[in-house]
């Protein structure tokens, strides 16, 4: 019994160390929202619904304003949907040219994302962990999605 508990502890420690190692260089992408958004977490399906324009509503009921960090867009959508930028752009071409929805606003750098998110209750964006600032609430690190396989860009 004690041996089993010990094994679990070692496993947990290893896991924690692994996550720490991933986060250490601060390059991990982190979803961020306004401190008054009413959100403390967000599932991957919920993030897909918002960023892919299916339903622009935060789980707290506020209208969502998704923001892309242009230089990290390819990495973000690979993590979110396992799709390339060409696939994501194809998806948006269908929605844009049938007047259904517009793609997320494009921010050119982390400072712009943080500025938008800190000033709008419904805004949701992503920045690298090392760029986080006090004005926004970090929700979830996207490294946790790396090995999950749920994604969609259905029409």
């Amino acid at each position: 019994m004690a041996a089993r508990t010990l094994r679990h502890l070692i496993l947990l420690a290893a896991l924690a160390w692994g996550c720490q190692a991933l986060a250490d260089d601060g390059a991990e992408l982190v979803l961020v929202v306004h401190p008054d958004s009413g959100l403390t977490t967000l599932s991957r399906d919920e993030a897909i619904n918002i960023f892919m324009g299916r339903h622009r509503q935060l789980p707290s009921g506020i209208t969502a304003l998704p923001v892309d960090l242009a230089p990290a867009r390819a990495e973000f959508y690979q993590l979110l949907t396992d799709k390339t930028l060409a696939q994501i752009n194809s998806y948006w071409a269908r929605l844009v040219f049938s007047g259904r929805a517009s793609p997320p606003r494009q921010a050119q750098d982390a400072a712009e994302v943080l500025d938008i998110v800190a000033n709008s209750r419904g805004a949701i964006g992503y920045v690298r962990r090392r760029d986080l600032s006090a004005g926004v609430r970090p929700l979830v690190g996207l490294a946790t999605w790396r090995n999950l396989q749920t994604a969609s860009t259905a029409p």
Binding site: R54, A93, R100, E112, T150, A151, S152, T153
Partner: protein
């Protein structure tokens, strides 16, 4: 008689002074583009109020069979027949989106494509005002795409799909692509996914082609319909229904013949496509990472006695490998009863075989197997190649998806297509 001159045109004839939508687009677009330049250029920090986007395709289609012309859809008057044509799949679209504020926006889209008249005169594809009081409701009014099937209202945007062209058996026979009317979208988060539905109603606008010389104006056709969708994870399912009351106006050499036959009500009733149609559809999409699969089915219930009920559908599977995405598609359309040649009154100066051509024109019976691949050259440019092997059974050889058929045609066609698709 005094001729007058209007300020914005150099024409001195009253006819030339008529400003139609086409002229408007042609004259306004360059101006709007110039005006938009600075707005787009300084779009950092501010939400851009006006955005200009476009899409286009350069395509080459070759039909190895020289006994029937292959077309993309029923608006096209001619298609490759033992030769190669660039006009079948080539087109250019330009869209302006204006964010007015107060949850209002406006969109205008002009498109230039090979049309019923055999030219590329630009037309207004979309032009609507949209009101979104909250994230769960959209209301639009104006000129709208006909959203009857999944992808139907974006079938001109080649970059948005994998194929060189959408399966012709499913999207080719669509009577029109746009309506003047209104639609409403409602969304609701349910489980991990989103349940949403659309209702639309309006009047059709546009012209189809019967052949190189005869066209059909469908303006005046009333339609109403809707669809309900559920999207969750990699799945999207959709059920749709549209009812339309067809009204057609035939232009061209065949028009006097129709006028003549209209004097015999029972004959006219047997050949006229004017009446109610019910169009049912089911769509299922699975799209996860590199794998994409689609299944679409449609059923057309036709009330005109001379038009048979019909089924159509396709299944398509694709798998991305690096920049390449090979795909395979099987599609079909078939009438549920065979073509019935109407009895025409004797003694009229009618061309030989005209009765057969009336009934054959509305009786599909064909299958296509397609293989192809998309290569993503850049983030907004794709190259595609596709081969279609088409098999048309005897009843379907006079169908409106074919042009200039020779009587000895065996119903086979092999179509090679290469396209360059882009968005900007």
């Amino acid at each position: 008689m005094t001729r007058y001159r209007q300020g914005w045109t150099t024409s001195t004839t009253p006819k030339g002074a008529i400003l139609n939508a086409t002229t408007l687009i042609r004259h306004l677009l360059p101006i709007l583009l110039l005006a938009a330049g600075p707005v787009l250029g300084e779009a950092t920090g501010q939400w851009p109020a006006l955005s200009v986007r476009g899409f286009g395709t350069l395509g080459l289609a070759h039909n190895s069979n020289d006994q029937a012309g292959f077309i993309r859809d029923v608006t096209q008057p001619r298609g490759p027949k033992g030769d190669t044509r660039w006009d079948l799949d080539s087109r250019l679209g330009l869209q302006l989106d204006l964010d007015i504020g107060n949850n209002l926006s406006a969109t205008v889209q002009g498109i230039s494509r090979y049309n019923h008249a055999g030219n590329f005169d630009p037309e207004l594809a979309w032009g609507f005002v949209k009101f979104s009081p909250d994230d769960s409701l959209d209301l639009r009014a104006g000129r709208l795409g006909w959203d009857i099937y999944m992808l139907a209202d974006s079938r001109d945007v080649g970059y948005s799909y994998l194929w060189a062209r959408p399966p012709v058996e499913y999207y080719g026979p669509l009577q029109f692509s746009k309506i003047n009317g209104a639609d409403l979208v409602l969304r609701h988060s349910l489980g991990n996914g989103v349940l949403w539905g659309k209702l639309f109603a309006g009047q059709a606008t546009g012209k189809l082609s019967l052949d190189a010389r005869n066209s059909v104006d469908v303006a005046g056709t009333d339609l109403a319909g809707g669809h309900i969708n559920y999207e969750t994870g990699p799945w999207l399912a959709r059920l749709g229904y549209t009812r339309l009351d067809m009204e057609v106006d035939i232009n061209g050499p065949v028009a006097p013949l129709m006028d003549l036959l209209a004097q015999f009500p029972e004959v006219f009733e047997a050949i006229s496509p004017e009446d109610t149609y019910h169009l049912y559809s089911v769509g299922l999409v699975f799209d996860e990472g590199p794998l994409q699969a689609q299944l679409m089915l449609g059923y057309q219930k036709s009330e005109p006695p001379g038009v048979p009920d019909a089924n159509q559908g396709y299944v398509s599977v694709a798998y991305r490998m690096g920049q390449w995405t090979p795909f395979a598609t099987a599609s079909f359309a078939n009438a549920l009863s065979s073509a019935r040649t109407p009895e025409l009154p004797p003694g009229l100066p009618l061309p030989a075989g005209i009765g057969d051509s009336f009934s054959a024109n509305t009786t599909p019976d064909q299958t296509t197997l397609s293989l192809g691949a998309r290569y993503d050259l850049w983030e907004n440019i794709a190259l595609k190649v596709q081969y279609d092997h088409v098999n048309v059974r005897r009843d379907g050889r006079g169908y409106m998806l074919w042009r200039e058929q020779d009587s000895g045609w065996d119903g086979r066609a092999g179509v090679f297509t290469a396209t360059l698709d882009f968005v900007f």
